[in-house]
Amino acid sequence: MNNELSDSIKDKLTRKLISSHNMGDFIFEKLTLLFTVSVFLLVILMGYEMYQGSRLSIAKFGWGFLSSSTWDPVQEIYGALPIIYGTVVSSALALIIALPLSIGIAIFLAEIAPDWLEKPVSFLVELLAGIPSVIYGLWGIFVLVPWLRQSVEPYLSEKFGYLPIFTGAPYGFGMLAAVLILAIMTLPIISSISRDVLKSIPYSQREAALALGATRWQSTLIVLKDAKSGILGATMLGLGRAIGETMAVTMVIGNRALISPSLFDPSYTMASVIANEFTEATSQLYLSALTELALVLFVITIVINALARLLVWSMSRKWKTS
């Protein structure tokens, strides 16, 4: 054992010696380092560019840009609050719908499904994540929106019309449609990552619980507790997708900068504002306001993704050390 160990150390040392004297390895090492650094630079550069582009708007509106609720290109008044509201609310509601479903799917795939079923279903779930968002959008326009307009929204307003969230005219296009589309789009991300997280938890944990006399459900609960931070990370990645989603949302959300409690009313998100209005942005200030919107979106997504990665990473590290 001891001999083996010292052998492997010697082996490593010799390899290190060789590599430091090898020109090809040296170039290869530095080149890959350069590629990696360039990714960082790119992100910083993008942030800087957006900051530069939005200086006009920042100077004019200051923090008021985030708290004022008038978005009026004609008057040249830009307040992003309804747009930020639309982004946050549509993503948050989408997650509230998608999360329990995704965890259910993940538990089924990781804990319950037999092998022959798990493989194809997991593949299908991951395939769902790869569908271009414009296709979701089209499906939204031709299937989801008419269905909401003709069946779901009239029903909801008849039965639950006393709730402020179900008031107003049932257009079909609006917050509800966007929430449902986003829920469907985040579902595969959250469920496939959660499934991987559950699978990364050693089988011995389940055995430990079962051998203590746990039922299958109780042992799954213990595993879920272990997987908590990883699933949270998966959720954040889903949130990142929902917040940044542009095409499908633009096609169904109704595109009006409006803060309304009703899910039937149209709304707007940061990504869809940028996509819709960039071509029409004729004045410098308009362009600058849109760029500032992009900057806000950029910062939010970076923070969310960083947090998500951190959580997933801390999770996998824990299992490696224990």
Binding site: A209, L210, L212
Partner: protein, 249 residues
């Protein structure tokens, strides 16, 4: 001599593969029985049959296993596993739980939530597992921060907390250093006063030290089962003798 577990004509399968052939043996109450044999001879499968953990990984059996004259296959596996505890080869404490909660886990699974009931049981079990003095001041620390040997004793304490009648141990010391191994062996020696213990081991000295009876398995068959001293001093079969003398395996 009271018989705790009586195994008759046991065949065990994983899918279509037959891994145990016609095993018959009686495990006496409050004794330690060692199962020895080369890798892949079905030792682990055998003890997993005794708390029906083999079913979890898709195994099945034919034949009969009786505990206190009741057929195991007719019992609810969840209730059975509370009476037949298991300690695994690799220590597997619950990493998100504190030391205290690890030991209390089995009680909580049984619906016991009252801390006044749980706390004394946790203390008693940690003492029984010879871990109390090392952890009594940091019961709220994560179980994953203990050393491997401590983790294994924690797992033993966790098993004891549900008050089983039989404890199955699947190579409980094979992942541990010699000092931890000695501690676990001393512990088994103590535990067999109150519990029936079945221990799978690769280590023949360990089998000789801790067990009263030894079963020698070879390629899914029970070659010989007898008092430990007899197996090691004057085995009846040539195969057993070759194995305990270290000539193969």
């Amino acid at each position: 001599m009271d018989i705790k577990l009586s195994i008759k004509n046991l065949d065990a399968y994983y899918g279509k593969t037959k891994v145990l052939h016609n095993i018959s043996l009686d495990i006496p109450k409050n004794k330690a029985v060692a199962i020895i044999g080369p890798s892949g001879c079905g030792k682990s499968t055998f003890i997993r049959c005794l708390n029906r953990m083999h079913e979890v990984v898709g195994g099945s059996i034919t034949g009969s296993i009786m505990m206190d004259n009741e057929e195991l296959s007719k019992k609810d596996p969840v209730l059975l596993r509370k009476r037949v505890g298991m300690v695994f080869q690799k220590p597997n404490p619950f990493p998100t739980m504190s030391i205290f909660n690890n030991v209390a886990a089995g009680l909580r699974l049984n619906g016991i939530r009252n801390k006044k009931i749980i706390a004394p049981i946790v203390e008693k079990c940690l003492k029984q597992a010879a871990l109390w003095d090392e952890v009594k001041d940091n019961l709220d620390d994560s179980g994953a921060n203990l050393s491997g040997g401590q983790q294994q004793r924690l797992c033993i304490a966790r098993t004891l907390a549900v008050d089983p009648e039989v404890i199955l141990m699947d190579e409980p010391a094979s992942a541990l250093d010699p000092i931890s191994t000695t501690k676990i062996e001393d512990l088994i020696f103590e535990l067999k006063k109150d519990y029936t213990i079945v221990i799978v081991t690769h280590n023949m000295q360990q089998a000789a030290r801790v067990s009263d009876y030894t079963a020698f398995f070879y390629i899914g068959e029970l070659v010989e089962f007898d008092v430990t001293s007899k197996i090691f001093m004057s085995p009846a079969k040539k195969q057993t003798e070759d194995y305990v003398r270290g000539r193969f395996g």
